[in-house]
């Protein structure tokens, strides 16, 4: 690894995974596979516990702001583990000179989102640092949720089988493009808004009506390709994805064509990947499509048997290629 930390190590791709493994997980004695939330057994309860930091630049973007992002991100990490999110802690590191009106707007936004999600922000911390010692505002949120024991396998994927179908709840890449566009320094403007949203109600409606969900993960930094590659490691086998089934909005496509981005590697903040038992996929799809956050849900692929832990993309023109883990500089400070 480099002597100095590079941006690539914060991007959710290969270098980021390496940093987490070799520096953090090793020192903290984390030996179990890392999941979106830590699942903790306490007498009588199974808790899901998670934490995340938010350093998005700019702080305000179409579809959201850093506060909404922080709330939704942590709620979603709990929800995709199958837990009911309950309590949130929020810490703020604020740069000296930061406008109070902006801070109030961000905090109100968090509060609104917390009401929507049905969670309570119960504790927190504030620090102010001298001008220049942090970039405007950083937020860290931690969350606790309660998990039914029968849903525990959803975060580990232990019950995944060949033939299981893969579903995504809508178009990819909107968040990354909205944030990039809001920076206004890359010479383009876009009508795209971030998909930032709390997904716990959507997920609950699926889990309540359907037993077939074997695994869930939220698709954030590193995009769909990262989650699919992580999935091959978890399950130990391959995945086939149909490129034409993966929803991508036209303005996102246009930007990707121009800048050479692949929508499958772009960050999202309102997308969840489901692995669903074969035969249950239509039921899950219908439940998702009846919700505004899942209107464009699509069955995009399936788990395939075999020894190769590869994600194969069947291209829209009938060819095929491997979809690898993203590597190197993608888009910095999207989340």
């Amino acid at each position: 690894m480099n002597e100095f930390i590079t941006l690539a190590q914060g991007n959710g791709g290969k270098q980021a995974h390496e940093l987490i493994r070799k520096v953090f997980a090793e020192s903290f004695g984390m030996t179990k596979p890392l999941t979106d939330s830590a699942i903790l057994e306490e007498s009588g309860f199974t808790l899901a516990f998670t934490t995340d930091s938010y350093v998005v630049d700019p702080l305000f973007f179409p579809g959201g702001d850093i506060g909404k992002l922080a709330l939704c991100g942590t709620v979603n990490d709990l929800a995709v583990s199958g837990a009911d999110p309950e309590y949130i802690a929020a810490s703020f590191i604020i740069e000296e000179g930061f406008p109070l009106s902006d801070l109030k707007n961000i905090v109100r936004s968090m509060s609104r989102e917390a009401s929507k999600a049905g969670v309570r922000i119960v504790t927190g911390d504030t620090k102010v640092v001298e001008k220049g010692k942090c970039d405007k505002l950083f937020i860290t949120t931690s969350g606790i949720g309660i998990l039914d024991q029968e849903k525990e396998n959803i975060s580990t994927g232990k019950e995944i089988k060949p033939g299981d179908k893969i579903i995504i709840n809508g178009p990819l890449g909107n968040h990354a493009i909205a944030v990039l566009g809001a920076r206004k320094n890359l010479g383009f403007t876009t009508p795209v808004a971030s998909d930032c949203a709390s997904l716990n109600h959507l997920i609950k409606s699926v889990l309540d009506k359907c037993n077939g969900v074997r695994f869930m993960r939220d698709v954030t930094r590193g995009g769909l390709a990262t989650v699919l590659n992580e999935l091959t490691e978890i399950y130990g086998s391959g995945i086939k994805i149909n490129e034409s089934a993966v929803p991508v909005d036209e303005p996102v496509k246009g930007l990707c064509e121009m800048l050479g981005f692949d929508p499958l590697y772009l960050a999202n903040e309102g997308k969840v990947l489901f692995v669903v038992g074969k035969g249950e996929e239509e039921k899950v799809l219908n439940i998702l499509r009846s919700d505004p956050l899942g209107r464009d849900s699509s069955i995009i692929g399936e788990i395939v048997p075999g020894k190769e832990k590869l994600v194969i993309l069947n291209t829209s023109v009938g060819g095929s290629r491997i979809l690898d883990m993203p590597s190197g500089l993608q888009l910095p400070r999207i989340c």
Partner: protein, 72 residues
């Protein structure tokens, strides 16, 4: 970097234009295009429109493709 894509001119101001790729707007220098008009399709490369797209030729290509499709 070497990427060029077909985009539609949506507005023109002097030598610069606003062009659309599926709804995302970019700026493009029109210094290399004669008689650029709003609604024209051009190839956008590294911040410049480098050539107009001939609708006539494109339609001809598509027509040949359609013939190919039908003959299969």
């Amino acid at each position: 970097m070497c990427l060029s894509i077909p985009v539609k001119i949506v507005s023109i101001e002097g030598t610069m234009a606003e062009v659309s790729a599926g709804g995302t707007l970019f700026r493009a220098g029109l210094h290399m295009i004669e008689d650029a008009k709003i609604g024209d399709y051009v190839l956008l490369h590294a911040g410049f429109a480098i050539q107009k797209i001939s609708e006539k030729e494109a339609e001809e290509t598509i027509r040949l493709f359609d013939e190919l499709n039908e003959s299969v």
